[in-house]
Amino acid sequence: MTAVADVVTPDARKAGRGLYWAGVILLCAWVIIPLYLLFVNTMSSPDTVNSFPKSFIPEFNMGSLEFFMGFQGMLRALWNSVLVALMTMVMSIAIGAPAGYALSRFDFRGKELFRLLILLTRAFPLPLLALPLAVLFIRTGLDDTAFGLALVHTTLAIPFAVLITFSLFSGIPLELEEAAWTLGCTRLTAFTKVILPLVLPGITASAIFAFVISWNEVFAAAVLTIENRTLPAFLLQTLGEAPLHLKFAGGFILVVPALIFIFAVRKYLFAMWGIANR
């Protein structure tokens, strides 16, 4: 053990450990309690949500959620959100993954410039892009469509897709690919038969990440859509006049997929960011 630890008495060390775990639990509570309170509100009838004082225990009444589902335009907004997020997911991986592979496997002229372009996108407030695109989309007939919005969300997700797939491919030794070539694979079949199965879980994780980015985005969605609002844009628009139970149920619906997705990608979260730093 260390010289310092030898001086510390067992009592002090015990107190230190207690303090440490108290801190950990306190910080966990700090994250969970607000989520729990939203859950309580969502699981209460509209009357309970608007009454006072509040109970801290959910009554498991589906009234608020039913009201949410029945609210004019809400289901359509939910569907639009899913649609845009799915398109963003597919596009960002389809466009981003090849570049990630190129960055990990080749040295080519202009590589640094390309990396700079990717990193640059993260140093800008990207939702602002929606402003000029609103005009451009009207001219091209993409205004107020799920596809148009998905294009903007893909711009948000692509830097992450490139950097994450770059780190995934870098984690697979080149020798594996070379072995496949000597055994009669072409560059393409070596990729599809050897590399792809290995990176597929990671690719899925980064696809999910792209989905969450799109699912959560508010500003661009609110600027670019009018009739075909996504859920966050719809909620934002109704913030002023909507009753409380609608807001809370909507917030809850927004949160649930995020919880599941973060759980699904938790293994990759740190590997993703570790490399994205450099």
């Binding site: 260390t2 310092v4 801190g23 950990v24 910080l27 966990c28 994250v31 607000p34 608007n50 009454s51 006072f52 004082p53 509040k54 466009i95 090849p98 570049a99 190129a102 080749f106 080519f108 202009g110 390309f114 372009l117 990717i118 996108t121 800008f124 407030p125 939702p127 602002l128 892009l129 402003l131 000029p132 005009v135 451009l136 711009t155 692509i158 560059r187 959560n216 985005e217 500003f219 600027v223 966050p232 909620l235 913030l239 409380l244 807001k247 909507g250 917030g251 927004l254 949160v255 995020a258 973060i262 759980f263 938790r266 979260l269 740190f270 590997a271 993703m272 960011w273 570790g274 730093n277």
Partner: protein, 281 residues
């Protein structure tokens, strides 16, 4: 396909996409901001800057960033060091701490609204404990500091996770040998933190701060959910110009201002936390 051309072929889609949807729109924003019917002019900027809400929303945005980012930096550093020493339950604790990463700013705003609204949980608790007799209207014009506090808490709650993830990944890259050597020489935990962790964490701190500060200037939906018109911020004003006032030129001019602020702060952070030449882990 010739091997020399293959990488270019692979990066072509991204490059084209970013040129079309990243570089080109920025050119368009600039054009929209500086252009009027009679060519180049600063009219849009003059209009935006002289509007009475501009100084307030500017001040609010900066105040919020200045209040939130240092706390988040300290908190995420604390959490990251706590989690590296953890042997039992590390995965569970990390999962819980990173949950807010997946939660949108709008949802975070709504979550804290559940606590701060008049019939909300904070009032319920205060009345229950006998601190106040009647539920108070917390998010109102009379108590702007409560609105600020609510927005601040929501922002800290929501966006600390992104810094945490970057810092945990960064700490994982620091070789254990440094700490073992420090132990041998009897350096205290605090000394190890300031002399080993902090300096070697510089690249990660850089990324985390750049990302966080830019997001701080983009604050929008949290404020919309909690403060509404009580607490105007820059991004909300851009939205108002675009929609309520239908003034695209002014919105673009304000967007350029936010953009410039973001770039200036990115450069400052990169400069302040730069890694000395030739120094690597």
């Amino acid at each position: 396909m010739e091997a020399r051309l293959l990488p270019y072929f692979l990066i072509l889609p991204v490059t084209l996409f970013l040129c079309l949807f990243f570089l080109y729109p920025f050119a368009l924003v600039a054009q929209q901001a500086f252009g009027t019917e009679n060519g180049f002019s600063l009219d849009n900027f003059r209009e935006v800057v002289t509007y009475w809400k501009f100084p307030i929303s500017m001040k609010n945005t900066f105040l919020l960033a200045a209040a939130v980012v240092p706390i988040q930096l300290a908190l995420s550093l604390l959490m990251a060091t706590m989690v590296t020493k953890m042997q039992k339950g590390r995965d569970l604790v990390l999962y819980i701490w990173t949950i807010p990463l997946g939660i949108s700013d709008l949802a975070a705003g709504i979550i804290w609204l559940a606590i701060f609204e008049q019939s909300g949980f904070l009032n319920s608790m205060m009345v229950g404990l006998g601190v106040t007799e009647q539920p108070m209207s917390l998010l109102s014009y009379q108590t702007p500091w409560v609105v600020f506090l609510a927005i601040m808490l929501a922002e800290i709650w929501r966006a600390t996770a992104i810094m945490l993830v970057i810092l945990v990944a960064g700490i994982g890259l620091i070789p254990k040998e440094y700490y073992e050597a420090a132990d041998v020489f009897g350096a205290s935990r605090w000394k190890q933190f300031t002399r080993i962790t902090l300096p070697l964490l510089r690249p990660s701190l850089q990324t985390a701060l750049v990302l966080r500060v830019i997001l701080a200037f983009e604050v929008f939906a949290v404020v919309a959910a909690l403060g509404g018109t009580i607490f105007p911020v820059l991004m909300g004003e851009i939205y108002a110009y675009q929609f309520d006032l239908q003034n695209g030129g002014a919105a673009a001019a304000l967007a350029i201002i936010v953009l410039i602020i973001s770039i200036v702060f990115t450069l400052i952070i990169i400069r302040a936390l730069r890694v000395p030449k030739g120094a690597t882990i």
